[in-house]
Symmetry: C2
Subunit: 334 residues, 2 copies
Amino acid sequence: MGEIVRVVVDAMGGDNAPGEIVKGAVQAVTNHENIRVILTGKEDMIKAELSKYSYPQERIEIVHTETVIETAEPPVAAIRTKKDSSIVVGLTMVRHGEADAFVSAGSSGAVLVGGQAIVGRIKGIERPALAPLIPTKDGVSLLIDCGANVDARSSHLIQFARMGSIYMEDVLGIKNPRVGIVNIGAEEEKGNALVKETFPLLKQCSDLNFIGSVEARDIPEGVCDVIVCEAFVGNVILKLYEGVAGTLIGKIKGSMMQSLKTKIGALLVKPALKSTLKSFDATEYGGAPLLGLKGLVVKTHGSSKAKEVEHSIYQCVQFTEQRINEKIKEHITL
Amino acid sequence: MGEIVRVVVDAMGGDNAPGEIVKGAVQAVTNHENIRVILTGKEDMIKAELSKYSYPQERIEIVHTETVIETAEPPVAAIRTKKDSSIVVGLTMVRHGEADAFVSAGSSGAVLVGGQAIVGRIKGIERPALAPLIPTKDGVSLLIDCGANVDARSSHLIQFARMGSIYMEDVLGIKNPRVGIVNIGAEEEKGNALVKETFPLLKQCSDLNFIGSVEARDIPEGVCDVIVCEAFVGNVILKLYEGVAGTLIGKIKGSMMQSLKTKIGALLVKPALKSTLKSFDATEYGGAPLLGLKGLVVKTHGSSKAKEVEHSIYQCVQFTEQRINEKIKEHITL
């Protein structure tokens, strides 16, 4: 058994809070001995949820907070004014070393802004990056950046590549991860000004396994492990993934309900199909870490259920045990 | 019957040239009386293909060209040096008014560069835009721009919105088409510098039915008819659409072959499923027009078969009959 890892979980964030969030925390401490969870949020609501389960009680603590930051609120103002919210209190605990990591399914904007403002950046990191895992044909790839860093510079992208590479190697155990930059063609001379400037700089990074340009068409095939792009493009990729898969699956389900014949066929293929579609569901892969901060902040999908929350907590353990932040610090001075 | 529309078709372009290209041309003139096709390419090869069919011979002409621009060739140099290629000769005929439109499944780069250099831009259009139709839940949307105009300015995007709107209204018959701008959130204050600058300008365009920001997640649901973005983002959207759908369909097919039970089920759902997947296949929707040129240039997918070539030719007829270029000219002076 390793050291105890202390994870603050925002019990009030997301569509299924606090029920599924609390359930995920209970599952995590039940299944892993070296996890302690601190739930931030309304104490009475959290207690009501916790009372449904039996679990190692000494490893879940509640820190009562009065307010909740809503998804629609402007994040900067929310972080500044709602000092007693589950997000601000959780992030402040990470800042003060009272916890190792913070997980939230709440407002993305507030988590991103709060992560930078409260936890703070690692020295030398110009911008932290939100880096979700996306499903590919036979595995996952890290998409970095999907955050709020629009209009990025090439130096940011280089740092994203380095942080993503460390994460994939040490958290996911992928040796010498392949790093690609999203581009509109395979050739080095293709691309917009940012990509053209960044490409040769990435080529020079001897610490990276840079494989060159990656076209969006090839991303789902899993051609690289770390997909580098600026946040606007990353956001489009992440959301379109979800959108195309969702619409297509909806159409497939519809077509299987067309007649008695297709309905019988659907019953026969359903179990196999279900597991396939599940493996292609981005929400299955825990949360997206905000890499480059002094502490770990993980944003999970707003629609997260207990299982995703549980997985996000395990991600935090892996991240902490592998000393990812120390490794990022070392690499950034390169 | 309307006026005869003269379409030059590059018989040498694409993975299935000249066989499928010639077949598509034959189908088009056979099914529609008011089409004349001029095939550019190696005369002996084209003649050999044509000899397989019976068709109204007076409506297919061959213009022999000696060279072919390959997909891998740098486009600017290719257009400059290969004056006797099927692409340069075809585009030159459009320029001189010897044809109304040009269709090619060959090198995208060469078609884009050649379109601008040889056919030329409509006065007032700063940049032409490549605008493919992409499948949505119950129809199609026009994605503008997917061309080579990286690092676009807001004035370009406004022109794209106007041209796309005219195209959807007059070629596809969609009344008052909904125009959206690709963004990373629904709110007006979201986005990168380009989107933030363009958003209020689009709002001011009283000739457009501007519905605001569109998140990538919602594109496949068909939330708008004209999807405005700069070419880098457009290229990512177009190719990711293809990639996610392709990989997901591959996985679904794989899961249906897992056992005898699933194989029987697959047989029962197959016909319904096939037509569903077909409706979500971007290659089904003919070619992408290069809007903003003095003549019509249409780029079809490199893997186009006869049917796509045929559809692209019909697109040209619709475009010409609806006097799209005249309408674009009028609108640009607004």
